[in-house]
């Protein structure tokens, strides 16, 4: 597959960059944080994204989407990473759309995909139960009750869980904790009786909650995919999120580099522009090299999800592992090369560093991904 953007993709990227720079730059996130906004994203901006078709980027045309594929979806995520735009894009347009589009029943698709495509319905994915991402460690149970199930358990680190209308939850319908078999996926309304939300004050100022389920009743048709067979769809859904996060981190890393290079050309010390110091030139050039290659591996992962999602896990793991490291390097180097000013809240770099930390941890950090990579490679 070509490793350059086609015309349609280039247009999308330019449009996304233009819109986000004008309407949702870092100052928007700062304002959301400072005003104590409860949603932690801007609903008007999200509605505009829905109108532009972004929320439906992975939804098929029959259900009101634009169906442009993962490479396009990744471009949008990358641009959002550049501007640090807070929105439920990842959990809704990338993961929610993948979950329902690929594994939903006809009725789930008909009900939810058109609303996802317009941005009207926000989704969240509730997977983790502890402090680390361990998608197979599922202690949450769904036990048969009448025609349906009763779900009980606690889910941590649920991105956009505080604003979602529907939540995709993993629960055990069979097997023991840690087993792959016996995990099932449920689509649960966020206002169902028995769900308690605990909001967290996250370092990246975004929406994230802990959800506890106390005998939450759902119908039998709330299952997504096969009962007991949720592990493989879950992996696909998580891969959509991981690739999206890798793309987002790529955008953030590029923004950090570009801010830093600008500063190197501006700041003077010892009677020189600091960019003249070779120690800094080499650090910046090393970072540039890392980012160039990182962009390429993200592209490969997104292309893999487009062409053969069942074989994409290796490249997705590689991409998220790589970007977790490169984006953190970018944020760290960026602060160091800015000197003291980089440490101030007034300056934007801190926002990047904090968001990258969260994106790196979400759906499996770089260590987790490297471990998955090695397992898939057979060592």
């Amino acid at each position: 597959m070509a490793m350059v953007l086609d015309e349609e993709q280039s247009m999308l990227r330019d449009a996304a960059r233009g819109f986000l720079t004008d309407h949702a730059p870092v100052s928007q996130l700062r304002k959301l944080r400072d005003s104590g906004n409860e949603d932690k994203f801007d609903r008007a901006t999200w509605a505009a994204m829905g109108e532009m078709g972004w929320a439906g980027v992975l939804v098929d045309e029959d259900h009101g989407g634009v169906d442009m594929g993962f490479q396009a979806a990744g471009l949008i995520a990358e641009e959002m990473g550049r501007t640090l735009t807070a929105s439920p894009y990842l959990s809704t347009a990338m993961m929610g759309a993948t979950a329902l589009g690929a594994y939903g029943t006809t009725s789930q698709k008909e009900t939810w995909l058109p609303k996802i495509a317009t941005g009207e319905a926000i989704m969240a994915i509730a997977v983790d139960e502890g402090r680390k991402h361990r998608p197979q460690q599922v202690a949450t149970t769904a036990s048969k009750s009448g025609n349906g199930f009763k779900i009980s358990g606690t889910k941590t680190f649920v991105a956009d869980g505080g604003v979602a209308e529907q939540i995709i939850v993993t629960a055990r319908t069979a097997g023991g904790e840690g087993e792959k078999e016996g995990i099932s996926l449920f689509l649960v309304s966020a206002d169902a009786a028995g769900i308690t939300k605990t909001h967290h004050d996250m370092i990246d100022s975004r929406n994230s909650v802990t959800l506890s389920f106390d005998d939450v009743e759902v119908d039998g048709d709330a299952i997504i995919g096969e009962i007991d067979g949720g592990a493989s769809p879950l992996n696909h859904i998580l891969n959509a999120g991981r690739a999206g996060l890798a793309a987002e981190m790529s955008g953030s890393a590029q923004a950090c580099l570009s801010m830093t290079v600008d500063y190197l050309k501006e700041r003077k010390q010892f009677g020189k522009t600091i960019g003249e110091f070779q120690a800094l030139q080499h650090r910046a050039s090393h970072l540039y090299s890392e980012i160039e290659l990182a962009k390429a591996v993200v592209m490969k992962a997104l292309q893999g999800l487009d062409s053969a999602p069942e074989h994409a896990s290796l490249m997705v793991a590689a991409a998220k592992a790589k970007l977790g490291q490169v984006a953190q390097l970018a944020a760290q180097e960026s602060i160091q090369m800015h000197g003291g000013i980089g440490m101030t809240d007034e300056y934007d770099i801190g926002f990047y560093m904090k968001r990258i930390r969260v994106a790196e941890a979400l759906y499996g950090d770089s260590h987790y991904q490297a471990d998955i990579y090695a397992k898939l490679r057979g060592f």
């Binding site: 070509a2 490793m3 350059v4 290079v261 190197l264 050309k265 020189k272 522009t273 960019g275 003249e276 070779q278 030139q281 080499h282 910046a284 050039s285 090393h286 540039y288 090299s289 160039e292 290659l293 990182a294 962009k295 390429a296 591996v297 592209m299 490969k300 490249m315 590689a318 592992a321 790589k322 260590h367 490297a370 471990d371 990579y373 090695a374 397992k375 490679r377 057979g378 060592f379």
Partner: protein, 388 residues
């Protein structure tokens, strides 16, 4: 497309019929490869046959014009040929600095006579070339070179010393950077000249490296003679030719970051063993996974940078990214291979001569422009930093 498919089928058939069995596995080292030249002795009949057959097809230099010993293949056809050779695990019939470095420079800057005289013997593996760039006092700062070249009316006369000349003791001709104007500024008094080494004025002395091998030489020019028609490009404008050639050299060296041979994870699994499906050495396992991931990113990056170049996007200086990253990666890979090999890797002549290869990789980030020099290029030409 249909044409390309036909070409693929024909190529596959021809290779299957013509590539000798012994040539269907990788070379084990420099000594096992075919380098050609006046004094070449073939290791076996298969090596000779393979070269002769490929020469007859023009496939030692598939993209060069037919009149200069090539086959005039398009980029797409050449790619098919490469992939079909890979499919059969067919080795390269001829390794050659003439093909990799001098050829492209001659095709761009040579006169028709120079092309005829030199390209055909290169394509046929009859003349072996070496590169005379570096001098004891001109390494990274190559343009400060001082080897003197004087116009003696009907010929040029060269005096001076080169160093690090790879395979100079085995080569027939050398392409040399010389100073033809000592008054001019550093970069403007340099010329690019071709010299026959079979003369008393040229002597070579091998340098022994840490790897125990001596493929590099000091090359001495003592009133050596070169023909008036052997300057490539214009006199005093050799720097342009030299730089063009360097980009080809860098591409060649950065190709080493490419996942050559068996992926290291598989090698380590075999050498160290698995425990519950994981490499028994968990710390090494992490390092290997990280290395392989960086290798994937490197390969993807190389593909992307090449696609961008073809589409007229991106920047030429990205070749420095590949040179820098690819060589550093190759060094890391060999460190891990030594880790994986344990005490068995610590003896000379062990399987695949791993220790010698490991030591040799240390030069990857020095030869063809050091890593620091690549970072300087990125700083200047990509990041546009002041004073870079």
């Amino acid at each position: 497309m249909a044409d390309l498919d036909t070409f693929r089928m024909e190529t596959r058939k021809w290779l299957e019929e013509n590539c000798p069995e012994e040539m269907r596995h990788g070379v084990t080292g420099d000594e096992d490869a075919c380098w050609g030249g006046r004094h070449w002795t073939f290791k076996n009949d298969a090596q000779r046959l393979w070269l002769e057959r490929m020469v007859a097809k023009g496939w030692t230099v598939p993209e060069w014009p037919v009149e200069y010993g090539g086959a005039g293949l398009s980029k797409a056809e050449a790619k098919v040929l490469r992939s079909e050779m890979k499919r059969l695990n067919a080795r390269s019939p001829l390794d050659s600095f003439g093909i990799w470095m001098l050829g492209p420079a001659l095709l761009k800057y040579g006169t028709p006579e120079q092309k005829k005289e030199h390209l055909i013997p290169i394509a046929r593996g009859e003349i072996r070339w070496c590169q005379g760039y570096s001098e004891p006092n001109a390494g990274s700062d190559l343009a400060s070179l001082m080897t003197k070249c004087e116009d003696k009316g009907d010929h040029y006369e060269i005096t001076g010393q080169k160093v690090w000349t790879s395979y100079a003791d085995k080569a027939d001709w050398i392409f040399v950077l010389v100073r033809t104007d000592f008054e001019a500024t550093k970069h403007t008094g340099i010329s690019f000249i071709l010299v026959d080494m079979d003369q008393p004025g040229v002597t070579t002395k091998p340098i022994r490296l840490i790897s125990g091998k001596s493929p590099f030489c000091e090359t001495f020019f003592d009133n050596a003679v070169a023909g008036k028609d052997q300057i490539v490009g214009e006199i005093n404008k050799g720097w342009t030719v030299a730089k063009y050639l360097l980009t080809h050299e860098r591409e060649m060296i950065s190709g080493m970051g490419d996942a050559m041979g068996r992926p290291i994870g598989d090698l380590a699994a075999m050498q160290i063993g698995l425990e519950d499906g994981k490499l028994e050495d968990s710390m090494l396992r992490t390092d290997i996974a990280r290395l392989e991931i960086d290798g994937l990113a490197f390969m993807a990056g190389m593909e992307k940078i090449i696609s961008e170049a073809k589409a007229g996007q991106g920047t030429g200086a990205n070749a420095s990214v590949l040179k820098y990253y690819g060589t550093e990666l190759n060094k890391r890979r060999h460190e891990l291979m030594m880790d994986s090999g344990g005490s068995e890797a610590l003896t000379w002549g062990a399987e695949e001569d791993i220790a010698a290869h490991w030591l040799r990789t240390k030069a990857n980030s020095i030869e063809g422009g050091t890593s620091e020099v690549q970072l300087n290029i990125i700083s200047k030409h990509i990041l546009d930093l002041p004073g870079a």
